[in-house]
């Protein structure tokens, strides 16, 4: 299993994402440059956190049009597995690969803390190694993490089981609709979340719950 992790100008979590991927037994990872449309044959793509293109205009808005993203869009349309973390989630929403958008946190503050997220769907490529209802301890760190979808879209997401992770125990840190921390697309092969699983892969730093996202992806790949 070979992961590809995109590096945009302004990315800051791509190295942690590579290290997280490399913790999966039998997996390797490589960086993919934003200006290179070649995905170099990777089996799955991770769009990492950071501030791609300075987050100018709107978070993720400009990164969405980079050469590598045009290839990621085609990759996802062919069924390729794509994970977006934080800024990566924002980029995937802007690219139309995921429903909804991320808005500034309701209390206007940058938040950086460990949160518990509940696994609402444990059957798809990204959370198959979790149990339904399991709590994962993973950090969030963002200013623009309030998940928003218009009411009708939100109902559709809930009905179709596209809400994968929710902030647990009234711990919604940013005002996200329905406590949503992560959603997938209708086909199930694209997933975005605001918490950072790549920062929770070693008990030394408090939790290795995030590793389950990466091992799930490897198991889905087979």
């Amino acid at each position: 299993m070979r992961f590809g992790v995109i590096r945009f100008p302004g990315s800051c979590d791509e190295v942690d994402a590579v290290l997280a991927c490399e913790r999966v037994p039998g997996a390797s990872a490589q960086l993919l440059w934003h200006g290179d449309a070649d995905l170099h044959g990777v089996d799955a793509v991770v769009v990492p956190g950071g501030f791609s293109y300075g987050d100018y205009l709107r978070v993720g808005a400009i990164a969405r049009f980079s050469p590598v993203m045009e290839s990621v869009i085609r990759f996802s349309q062919e069924g390729g597995i794509v994970l977006g973390i934080c800024n990566g989630f924002q980029v995937l929403c802007e690219a139309g690969l995921l429903p909804g958008a991320l808005l500034p946190n309701v209390d206007r503050r940058f938040i950086c803390r460990q949160v518990n997220v509940e696994v609402a769907q444990a059957t798809m490529p990204f959370t198959a190694d979790c149990a339904a209802g399991e709590l994962l301890s993973i950090p969030v760190k963002h200013t623009t993490g309030r998940y928003y979808a218009p009411a009708e879209m939100l109902e559709g997401l809930e009905a179709d089981g596209q809400v994968v992770l929710r902030y647990a125990h009234d711990g919604n840190p940013n005002g996200s609709s329905n406590d949503i921390a992560g959603v997938r697309n209708a086909a199930g092969n694209v997933f975005g979340l605001m918490p950072h699983p790549e920062h929770a892969v070693d008990p030394l730093t408090g939790s290795d719950d995030g590793l389950k996202i990466f091992t799930s992806m490897a198991h889905a790949h087979g």
Partner: protein, 76 residues
């Protein structure tokens, strides 16, 4: 030959705008009373050769139609 164009982009009505709330809360502290419903958007100014492209530009990049409304103010 280019035209000067301006595009105004606003948060959609009904979506909480924390930036607007922050400004609204700051005004009374400076002695300005009676200001309500403050919303903060952004203005994009550009020189453009073909103003008929503006709408498509807004839909694709300048605004996110899911969360923002845009208005092409003038393109004269």
């Amino acid at each position: 030959m280019t035209t000067r164009a301006r595009v105004l982009i606003r948060p959609k009505a009904g979506i909480l705008d924390p930036q607007g709330v922050a400004v609204e809360q700051a005004l009374p502290a400076l002695g300005f009373s009676g200001a309500a419903n403050v919303h903060v958007g952004r203005l994009v100014e550009l020189d453009i050769e073909d103003p008929s492209q503006l709408k498509s530009m807004c839909e694709k990049l300048l605004a996110n139609p899911l969360i923002e409304d845009y208005e092409i103010l003038d393109a004269s």
